[in-house]
C-alpha cells in the first residue's frame, strides 16, 4: 500500500507539521514518534502524561431491545456479572472482552460501553469496524437490534499518565464533579449531538465529549471520544494546559512499548486466529467459580473448553534491553534445548530495569537512589508448555539468541487503577 492509499486522522496535518516519523498501522498513516523520541514519550507517560491520537480506532453502536442479549451472546465477558462483586454492567460503565468465532479464535478485542438500557458502544481496533459489525449482524439475525459503524466519524485521543487528571481538570468545566467518582472503566458525557450518559462533560470552551477512565498504557488516564471537528482544538488545548507539567504528544511506538510492559495484548499479534485460552487475559473469559465451565454461553465457548493440545501465552522480561524480532521466524527454546514456540511481541520498555532480583520502574516509590533504567525487552511468547514465573527461556531470531525470564507481570507500580482522588492528591514528584 502506498502512502497515498493510507487513511489519515483529522490530526494528520499536525503530526506532519510537528515532524513526526510516520508509519503505516492497520491502513492508517500514523505517528510512530515525534522529535522528542519514543523513549521520552514512554517516560513522559510513566512520570507525567502523554496524549495519543487514537482516532484510527473503530466505534460501533449497538442499540435496540435485543442489543444487550446480542452482546451477551458475542462478547467473552458475562455482562450480568462483570463488575465488582458480580454486579451487572450498567449505564456509564464499560468492560473489556473479545469477540470470537465458533472455533474460539479471536476476531478482535473490544471495550463495550453501556450508555443506556438498550444502547451500547463497542470500540474495536483500527480497521475492524466493518468485520465486527458484520459478525454482530450475523448473530443478531431477526433480533430487534440495529448496528451502526461510526468508523472515521468519531475522533478519539488518549490522555495517559499520573498527571492526566490534573491537566484535564484545567480545561474541564465543573472538573471536580465530573472527575470525582470516575472509577476505572467508568465513563460520562457524549460527543456533539448525542444525549450525554450520566451527565454532560464539556471543556471550558463548551466542546462536549465522552470521557472514559480507560486506556492502553497500563497507566492512569482517560480516553476522550469526540466529534472529528473537535479533535484539533481539544488537542491544542490539552497540550497547552499540560505544557508546564511536561505533557508530550506520543506516537504508536510509545503506545506499543507501554502496553507491552503493562501485559496488555495487541490484537492480531498476541491474540488472534487461535483459541482464546491459556493467556494472561483469562479475566476476559466468563469462568464459573470452579473454573471448569462458563457462567453463560457465548459464541466460541465450546471450542475453548475442548482444547486438546493447549498453547500457552506467557509474559516475559529480558535480563537486559536487547530484543529479537518476533513472529513466525522466531523461536522459543526451553532449558532442555527443545523448541517450544514462537515470540509474539518483543519490545523494549525503557522505563524499567532489573536491580538484583527485582524489576523497578521509574515510577516505583521504592526505587533505589539514582535509579536510571536502560530498559528491558519484554513481551509475550506462545509455547506448548505452561512455563512458570521465574523460568528462563531462550528467544531466537535469525541473528541472536537472548535469555529472558517468564513472569506473571512486567512493569511494576502501574497507576491505571488508582483513584482520581489519589492521583490529584499525589505529591509532586520530580520527573
Amino acid at each position: 500500500m502506498s502512502a497515498k492509499d493510507l487513511k489519515t486522522t483529522p490530526l494528520h496535518d499536525w503530526h506532519l507539521a510537528r515532524g513526526a516519523n510516520m508509519g503505516q498501522f492497520a491502513g492508517y498513516d500514523m505517528p510512530l514518534w515525534y522529535p522528542s523520541g519514543a523513549r521520552s514519550e514512554h517516560l513522559a507517560v510513566l512520570t507525567c502524561a502523554g496524549v495519543f491520537d487514537t482516532s484510527h480506532m473503530a466505534v460501533l453502536t449497538v442499540a435496540g431491545p435485543d442489543a444487550r442479549s446480542l452482546l451477551q451472546r458475542c462478547l467473552t465477558k458475562d455482562l450480568d456479572r462483570c463488575l465488582k462483586a458480580g454486579a451487572a454492567l450498567a449505564g456509564g460503565r464499560s468492560v473489556y472482552g473479545a469477540f470470537l468465532d465458533r472455533r474460539g479464535h479471536v476476531i478482535d478485542d473490544a471495550i463495550v460501553f453501556q450508555k443506556g438500557e438498550d444502547a451500547f458502544l463497542v470500540v474495536v481496533n483500527a480497521g475492524m469496524g466493518a468485520a465486527i459489525a458484520a459478525h454482530l449482524e450475523q448473530h443478531a439475525a431477526g433480533g430487534r437490534v440495529s448496528i451502526g459503524d461510526l468508523s472515521d466519524r468519531i475522533g478519539k485521543m488518549d490522555l495517559q499518565g499520573p498527571r492526566a487528571a490534573r491537566i484535564l481538570g484545567r480545561i474541564l468545566e465543573d472538573a471536580q464533579s465530573v472527575l470525582a467518582d470516575l472509577v476505572y472503566f467508568a465513563f460520562k458525557g457524549a460527543w456533539r449531538g448525542e444525549q450525554p450518559v450520566v451527565r454532560p462533560v464539556r471543556l471550558t470552551n463548551g466542546i462536549p465529549l465522552l470521557l472514559s477512565r480507560t486506556g492502553y498504557t497500563g497507566e492512569f488516564g482517560f480516553e476522550m471520544f469526540m466529534s472529528p471537528e473537535d479533535l484539533q482544538p481539544v488537542w491544542d488545548m490539552l497540550l497547552e494546559a499540560g505544557q508546564p507539567d511536561g505533557l508530550l504528544a506520543c506516537g504508536l511506538a510509545a503506545r506499543d512499548s507501554l502496553r507491552a510492559g503493562a501485559v496488555l495484548p495487541l490484537s492480531h499479534q498476541d491474540i488472534g486466529s487461535w483459541p482464546y485460552r491459556y493467556h494472561p487475559w483469562e479475566f476476559a473469559l466468563p469462568f464459573d467459580e470452579r473454573r471448569t465451565g462458563f457462567s453463560k454461553s457465548f459464541v466460541g465457548d465450546r471450542a475453548l473448553l475442548e482444547i486438546e493440545s493447549p498453547r500457552y501465552t506467557r509474559p516475559f522480561a529480558g535480563l537486559d534491553l536487547r530484543k529479537v524480532t518476533g513472529g513466525g521466524h522466531s523461536s522459543v527454546v526451553d532449558s532442555e534445548g527443545r523448541t517450544i514456540g514462537t515470540v509474539l511481541t518483543c519490545v523494549t520498555d525503557s522505563g524499567i530495569d532489573r536491580v538484583g532480583e527485582r524489576i523497578f520502574s521509574v515510577s516505583s516509590p521504592d526505587k533505589p537512589a539514582g535509579f536510571r533504567p536502560r530498559g528491558l525487552c519484554c513481551g509475550f511468547v506462545r509455547v506448548s508448555s505452561p512455563l512458570a514465573a521465574g523460568q528462563t527461556i531462550l528467544l531466537q531470531d535469525k541473528r541472536r539468541s537472548i535469555r529472558v525470564m517468564i513472569g506473571d507481570d512486567i512493569r511494576p507500580d502501574r497507576t491505571a487503577r488508582r483513584s482520581v482522588r489519589a492521583m490529584l492528591d499525589a505529591k509532586e514528584e520530580s520527573a
Binding site: 514518534w33 511506538a253 536487547r322 529479537v324 530498559g375
Partner: protein, 134 residues
C-alpha cells in the same frame, strides 16, 4: 521525520546504499550510520559491535543497532579488520542519534582493499538515492 533538506550529510564521508558511512583517516576508516538512518530508526537504545580483530568482507553484517521498536543490521562499507570500537556507545547509545558522524561513530577498520572505497557513494550520489526513497 527530517526532511531531506534538514539532513546532515557531511562531505568528508562516503556512504552506502544501506546508510552506513566510512570516513578515511590516516591509516584506517571510521564507520557509522547516516543521519537519515538514525532518524528512521528513532531512539537508539543499544549498539552491538564486533570484537577488535574480527574481519569482515564488504557488505557483511558486523553488528546491530537497536531502537525501542526494532533491531537492524549494520553492514561493512568496506572489507577489513576491526581495529577499534567506540566504547562510549555502551553507556550512551543515543550518541548515534545526536552525533551520528562524530561521537556516534561505531568501529574503525583497517581496509583490506582500499580500492573498495572508490565504490562508495559521494554526498551527491547518496542524496540522489535518498530522494528516490522519499
Amino acid at each position: 521525520m527530517k526532511e531531506i533538506s534538514e539532513l546532515n550529510l557531511p562531505e568528508d564521508v562516503r556512504y552506502t546504499p544501506e546508510h552506513e558511512w566510512a570516513r578515511p583517516e590516516e591509516e584506517h576508516f571510521a564507520v557509522g550510520i547516516s543521519d537519515f538512518a538514525q532518524d528512521q530508526l528513532g531512539d537508539i537504545v543499544f549498539v552491538e559491535l564486533p570484537q577488535v580483530g574480527d574481519s569482515f568482507a564488504k557488505g557483511e553484517e558486523f553488528g546491530t543497532v537497536e531502537s525501542v521498536k526494532a533491531v537492524s543490521e549494520l553492514y561493512m562499507p568496506l572489507g577489513g579488520e576491526v581495529v577499534a570500537l567506540n566504547g562510549a556507545l555502551e553507556d550512551s547509545p543515543e550518541l548515534v542519534n545526536s552525533e551520528p558522524y562524530t561521537a556516534g561513530w561505531m568501529i574503525r577498520i583497517k581496509s583490506s582493499d582500499a580500492a573498495e572505497a572508490d565504490g562508495l557513494l559521494s554526498r551527491t550520489a547518496y542524496l540522489e538515492l535518498l530522494k528516490g526513497i522519499e
